[in-house]
């Protein structure tokens, strides 16, 4: 099963507590597609998420942990998650503090495998 961008993002944003989701070009941090709540600056978040993912990838590879499959930034007031998708795309989600991270992680991994 493959998913177009919009449908892929909808599957993420319908999870309770998710404030937005986006597909980002991992190399340059540009937005490929987004579904964000008002007030979230998509372009800036995309750039920072891609940069963070790149940095953490270097750390994981240096430690011998291999290529990252999932990234999770947990903050006091919310959370940011990222999962690599095919073709160098990064699936990024922003959630509230109380979002179910386990559920969101599973859904993001499923969507990342199916997105085209």
């Amino acid at each position: 099963v493959t998913l177009p961008f919009r449908e892929a993002l909808e599957q993420i944003t319908r999870i309770r507590g998710v404030r937005g989701a986006m597909l980002v070009a991992g190399d340059d941090g540009l937005v490929v597609a987004e579904a964000l709540m008002e007030g979230i600056r998509g372009n800036a978040v995309a750039a920072l998420a891609a940069s963070l993912a790149k940095r953490l990838r270097k750390a994981a590879e240096a430690a011998g942990g291999g290529v990252p499959r999932f990234l999770h930034l947990q903050a006091r007031g919310g959370t940011l998650l990222a999962v690599p998708a095919p073709d160098g795309i990064l699936l990024v989600a922003v959630g509230d503090r109380d979002v179910n991270v386990g559920l969101l992680r599973l859904e993001m991994r499923r969507v990342a495998e199916a997105v085209v």
Binding site: L56, R76, G78
Partner: protein, 270 residues
């Protein structure tokens, strides 16, 4: 048996060709389980005769047992396979010194330093050899790769052991601990620099999204999970554990490691 050793043993049982034996052998050495480390290292050499790190590991467990002649042979084989192998040059430098061959010791230590100019133990050892100081006073190659001399490791009591935990300052300088890659090479300084930058990126991301102060950064890798946290405003902590350790458990361990780091900092880094 510590969880990480259990996990690595299970992984090796599942896949006897896995290179995890290198980390397992080193972890067993670090816990003083020399017999078990010897079995793992010896079978690793049989299974991977063309792999220099396998011979390096075996040489180090042979030194642990006082079998310097065979250790010399294993390190020599490692250099035949990989002429710039850091561990082999370091080990042979130690053996040459032990046998009174100062020129040989200096030559091997210089080659080790050329392979890894950042290794503080080799810098220190080379200086001592040139000054004619007893090399036994320098914990040169006999210490596990995960515990370089001169760098404190306050997490020995942590579940899974004190290895693969490090503390860095916000400038990316290593304060304590170490992390070894799959070849048993200490990559602590490199990781300290990387996670300090990652922490700054996390700061910016959290600020932009109005998420408040960030607490942790989890990286789920193919074989290992990393968790970065901030024990204090000026430091960053990295905990690396095998993927077999559940993520919730990893978070608990990271919290404990952060507590140990705070206590260690308050005690004046002793």
């Amino acid at each position: 048996m510590a969880d990480d050793i259990k996990a690595m043993t299970a992984e090796l049982a599942r896949d006897p060709g896995s290179l995890v034996f290198l980390k397992l052998g080193e972890a067993l050495r670090a816990r003083g389980q020399i017999e078990a480390a010897t079995r793992i290292a010896a079978s690793g050499v049989v299974r991977h005769p063309e792999l220099a790190p396998a011979h390096d590991l075996y040489a180090r467990v042979l030194v642990d047992q006082g079998d310097f002649e065979r250790a010399y042979h294993e390190w020599t084989v490692a250099l035949e396979l990989e002429p710039r192998h850091f561990g082999a040059h370091k080990g042979l430098g130690f053996l040459c010194y032990r046998w009174g061959d100062l020129d040989g010791a200096i030559e091997h230590l210089e080659l080790a330093l050329a392979a890894d100019p950042t290794d503080a133990t080799v810098v220190q050892a080379l200086q001592r050899v040139r000054e004619g100081v007893d090399l036994a006073a320098v914990a040169l190659p006999l210490a596990p790769a995960a515990a370089p001399a001169g760098v404190a490791s306050p997490w020995d009591a942590l579940e899974g052991g004190g290895h693969d935990v490090l503390l860095a300052d916000r400038r990316g300088l290593l304060l304590a601990g170490s992390v070894c890659d799959r070849e048993g090479r200490n990559v602590g300084e490199e990781l300290a620099a990387e996670i300090a930058v990652a922490a700054q990126e996390a700061d910016r991301t959290a600020r932009l999204l109005d998420l408040g102060e960030w607490r942790s950064l989890l990286v789920e890798g193919e074989t290992m999970n990393l968790l970065v946290s901030r024990p204090t405003g000026q430091t960053v902590l990295l905990l690396a554990r095998d993927r077999a350790v559940p993520q919730g458990r990893l978070a608990v361990l990271a919290e404990r490691a952060a507590g140990i780091a705070r206590a260690w900092l308050q005690a004046g880094r002793t």
